[in-house]
């Protein structure tokens, strides 16, 4: 049995034990599982959330990247997708939901508003959700095309590949 995405084991003396197991690094196995089964929590507040519905639906089908199981509880999700404008009135709610997510957890800021506040340069809009919580991937666009969402998930997968279970992921929040 071979696994396509598992990197080859470092050079080591091979013993012929048949095909009953594979040897690899623990990080590689864990990251392989994490990257290919992201469970998104959609924090949809505006039109970008409509694009995200398209991403999950059959035409664009985020299931091809293993991230189709959208959960509406932060306790069952490890990928928060902030799709839309976030106001200061809403910011404590966003922060609280992020804190309720189990680790490891990742955040995608989808679209201009979540990334920078967009054109709402005013008294009530948070100028980018990275003022509230840490963000892993930013998606440009107003709203972004569904392909941009898929690109962001692929980029996040590549980022997860570089992580290690020995490193504490949580940054000071």
């Amino acid at each position: 049995m071979t696994y396509k995405n598992v990197p080859a084991a470092p050079a080591a003396p091979e013993i012929d034990l048949g095909s009953s197991f594979v040897t690899t690094r623990l990080d590689a196995v864990v990251n392989w599982g994490r990257r290919n089964s992201l469970w998104p929590f959609p924090f949809g507040t505006a039109c970008c959330a409509i694009e995200f519905m398209g991403v999950v639906s059959s035409v664009f089908d985020v299931s091809r990247f293993g991230a189709e199981l959208v959960r509406f509880s932060p306790r069952q999700a490890d990928l928060m997708i902030i799709a839309g404008t976030v106001t200061y009135k809403q910011a404590p709610v966003l922060r609280r939901i992020y804190e309720q997510m189990c680790e490891p957890r990742w955040v995608i800021a989808a679209g201009a508003c979540a990334s920078s506040g967009g054109f709402y340069d005013c008294y009530c809009t948070v100028p980018g959700v990275d003022e509230i919580i840490p963000v892993d991937i930013y998606i440009a666009g107003c709203p972004p095309r569904p392909e941009a969402f898929l690109e962001a998930i692929v980029q996040l997968q590549n980022k997860i590949d570089k992580e290690s279970i020995r490193e504490q992921k949580t940054v000071g929040i």
Binding site: Y88, K89, A91, P92, R96, Y123, P127
Partner: protein
């Protein structure tokens, strides 16, 4: 199938009165002045102390029947070109559901007192609309039962749609307030008793499950 009786009249809308006729009907009872700056519709400047009487008259007069209050709009004329007079104004755009006519009542507001009478008893839609105008312009609606901020958060200082508020001045919110006062009032009005508020409101984040009031007397299946 039960059909809820609507207060929207059956049949097509009737032509109603012309703008000049509306002015005539109102001018018989109240001192109103037509606002020349409204080039497209009919805006009548009315004295604040007569506002409630005028709104009631507009709603109940058979030839007018302005049954719908569309909005309560604040205006800040600070640095407005060519403006003389009071700094603030409040506009009440109204629509008749029976006739094809509309009117806007305008009340000028003194900057120091900054108060107009509330009309929430005449139009239920005025409740939140007046709260929004208070929130954004700081205009007090005397007699309003729950004049607190509607759009901005409870730690916000100032009124952002005033022209002297720096529009990019951001104000962070640390903790949400409960925002359940109206729900609780509605429950009490239906005879329910709210037994326990959980922890005190101050310092309790809204998403904390222990702070959600336990509605001890609400029965399963009740529609709230």
């Amino acid at each position: 199938m039960m059909v809820k009786k609507s207060n929207v009249p059956d049949g097509p809308m009737l032509p109603g009165l012309s703008l000049d006729q509306i002015v005539t009907v109102l001018a018989e009872k109240f001192t109103v002045v037509r606002d020349a700056s409204d080039q497209w519709g009919l805006t009548l400047v009315a004295p604040a102390e007569k506002l409630r009487d005028i709104m009631r008259f507009l709603r109940d007069e058979p030839t007018l029947q302005f049954a719908m209050l569309l909005d309560v709009v604040g205006v800040d004329y600070l640095a407005y070109p060519g403006h003389r007079g009071e700094r603030y104004a409040v506009l009440y755009p109204m629509k008749s559901l029976t006739f094809r006519h509309r009117v806007t009542i305008k009340v000028t507001v003194d900057e120091d007192a900054c108060v107009v009478p509330s009309i929430h008893e005449l139009f239920r839609s005025a409740d939140w609309a007046e709260r929004e105008t208070w929130d954004q312009y700081g205009i007090i609606f005397a007699g309003h039962p729950n004049l607190k901020r509607l759009l901005n958060h409870h730690e916000f200082v100032g009124h952002p749609l005033r022209k002297d508020y720096p529009c990019q001045k951001r104000q962070k919110l640390s903790i949400n307030d409960q925002m359940l006062d109206q729900l609780e009032a509605r429950l009490r009005a239906r005879g329910y008793t709210i037994l326990d508020h959980g922890e005190s409101h101050a310092g309790t984040p809204i998403t904390d499950a222990s702070s959600v009031p336990s509605l001890g007397t609400v029965k399963a299946g009740d529609k709230l």
